[in-house]
């Protein structure tokens, strides 16, 4: 499979191995407030046990994609008007958000969204709401994030950004997901912390076989840990391929990694200039 621009509406669904994908979106169309068309026939597949990165500029519809998958659209007056979302062999397009979590998916929202007035431990217990017995899982999460164990009684709102992100991921893990979705885990974090968070994501994938779908602005970091990458523009997938090939793709390099043809770093001004002139569609 090579990195190819996707022009058809069902490109991704066709290229993904049919049996092996945990999550599949087929031609999903999302409209907000009955008028604003945000996703225009988006298709993508997340194979079981892999890390998939969904990249794209602001307003491309990345967050909307995750909300369509996790069922949060109705709370924002949005709606999937066409296409289907299939998770673990089951059509979940119209399923209630709470029910989807029970089916085995967890979403870490953009901006972390920890429960500010609850303690770290209470945040984790809230994350295990769908589980009958959460005692053991609590120990597992504390073992994975030793920092959280030290801070279990602290009020979450006063943690640092990096600590909150760990808590948000830990809380999502408490629901025992098969698929973990992360919306911009690097948002507002220092580069060193971004590296740490992505280290955790990679470990979750390799050590526990967790399937991950991650949205990122930080394309370089995301393509380093991901197995497969998708690039979105204006509500559609415009490019996809194995992450290694994506990293080498000249267009991706130019637009998302900020590198020129010769491999040198380009000035932001030039990149922006190009961006306006050249699009895939």
């Amino acid at each position: 499979m090579s990195t190819t621009p996707v022009t058809g509406t069902s490109g991704a669904a066709a290229t993904a191995a049919p049996g092996g994908s945990l999550l599949t979106l087929n031609n999903v169309e999302v409209i907000y407030d009955d008028v604003i068309l945000v996703l225009r026939g988006l298709s993508l597949a997340v194979p079981e046990g892999k890390i998939v990165a969904l990249l794209g500029s602001n307003g491309a519809g990345k967050s909307t994609t995750l909300k369509a998958v996790s069922g949060l659209l109705p709370s924002e007056h949005g709606e999937v008007t066409d296409g289907s979302v299939v998770f673990d062999g089951q059509d979940i397009t119209r399923m209630d958000a709470a029910e989807r979590v029970k089916q085995g998916m967890s979403l870490c929202m953009e901006g972390r969204h920890v429960f500010e007035h609850l303690s770290v431990a209470e945040n984790l217990v809230a994350g295990a709401y769908t589980q009958k017995d959460s005692g053991e899982d609590l120990d597992v999460v504390y073992e994975f994030f030793p920092k959280l164990a030290d801070m279990r009684n602290r009020v979450a709102g006063y943690l640092s950004g990096g600590e909150q992100q760990m808590l948000a991921i830990g809380r999502a893990l408490m629901a025992k997901p098969k698929l973990l979705m992360l919306d911009e885990p690097s948002l507002g974090l220092a580069p060193l912390l971004v590296q740490e968070i992505f280290g955790y994501i990679k470990r979750l994938n390799t050590e526990r076989g967790l399937t991950v779908l991650v949205i990122e602005q930080n394309a370089r970091r995301a393509l380093e840990v991901a197995d497969h990458g998708y690039i979105m523009e204006q509500g559609r997938i415009v490019l996809e391929g194995p992450a290694a090939e994506m990293r080498e793709n000249p267009d991706v390099k130019e637009f998302y990694l900020g590198l020129g043809e010769e491999g040198g770093r380009k000035s932001y001004r030039d990149v922006k200039h190009y961006k306006r002139r050249k699009r895939w569609l």
Binding site: G71, S75, V101, F115, H117, L118, A126, Y129, G157, A172
Partner: protein, 290 residues
């Protein structure tokens, strides 16, 4: 000294009932951001439901309480489902108007079935009095204090320890994030209304027992506003401190100054608190990280 002790016990008992009534109010506000102007009527309906079971149907005490709890839960859930849920996302003023309408409706329904005269109900709590340091303290007030303390502790443990209690606080904190945890926001809303109705029922039964089963219960319920403004609209510990403060203040004013002034004084406090500290003593302020 004996007057002081007497007033204090009366004040604490009133305050404990107020704390229970305010707890329901705070639950609803915290979880659903609805300001429930019908909280006083929840007390009224609760007291009359218990009266119906205990006196009219002549059920034994325990069964009468269970009957009251079941009906209160039902009313709470129905009010949420039929009246508040269609209002989700509407202007807060509209929602307030709806709860005011609900309060008038509930009061009228009670009047329709039971009239406006006080109903006679045999004493549930032990009567009589004990002598403490020369003051005659009625035993039923002490029981009110004990029962309210037990119920409030039970609620606190529920919020701190249980899965559903923590989920309720999570919804109060961040609804969307709670949804991503698989917490059904609708079910939590229904639960908040049901618990509020049950705490109001207990407050209503206690009030009916130490005063009378009549329309004044709703007026007493109106005092939840000074209580929650004082304690903080979204604070459970605030309801206890606020309730006891208002209860004591009322009784002391009535005993030492003037009974007429005692009816006004809680609202003077309300205005003062709004001027000085609008979010109350324990009201949650936004957490700002630097």
């Amino acid at each position: 000294m004996s007057t002081f002790l007497n007033l204090m016990v009366y004040g604490l008992a009133d305050g404990a009932i107020l704390a229970l009534a305010a707890l329901g109010f705070v639950l609803i506000y915290k979880a659903t951001s609805v300001i429930n102007f019908a909280q006083g009527e929840f007390l009224l309906v609760g007291a009359y439901m218990f009266y119906t079971a205990f006196v009219v149907l002549q059920l034994p005490l325990v069964l009468a309480v269970v009957f009251g709890v079941v009906i209160a839960t039902l009313i709470g859930v129905l009010v949420e489902r039929l009246i508040l849920r269609p209002m989700v996302g509407e202007n807060p003023i509209s929602i307030i108007m709806v709860t005011i309408g609900l309060s008038i409706f509930l009061r009228s329904v009670v009047q329709m079935f039971y009239g406006t005269r006080p109903q006679s109900q045999p004493a549930v709590l032990p009567t009589g009095s004990v002598n403490v340091l020369g003051a005659t303290i009625p035993v039923n007030r002490l029981w009110v204090l004990l029962i309210a303390a037990v119920v409030l502790t039970a609620f606190t443990v529920f919020f701190r320890r249980s899965r559903h209690g923590i989920a309720m606080r999570a919804v109060a904190d961040d609804q969307q994030a709670a949804m991503t945890m698989g917490i059904s926001v609708r079910r939590i809303f229904a639960m908040a209304w049901a618990l509020a109705a049950v705490s109001a029922l207990i407050a209503g039964i206690l009030l009916g027992d130490i005063y009378a089963v009549d329309q004044n219960i709703a007026a007493f319920g109106l005092l939840v506003f000074p209580v929650v403004i004082l304690g903080g609209l979204d604070s459970v510990p605030g309801t206890i401190v606020g309730g006891l403060t208002i209860g004591l203040l009322k009784q002391f004013t009535s005993g030492y100054l003037d009974p007429g002034l005692a009816t006004v004084i809680p609202y003077v406090v309300l205005v003062l608190i709004l001027l000085v500290r609008p979010y109350g003593i324990f009201g949650e302020t936004r957490i700002e990280r630097v």
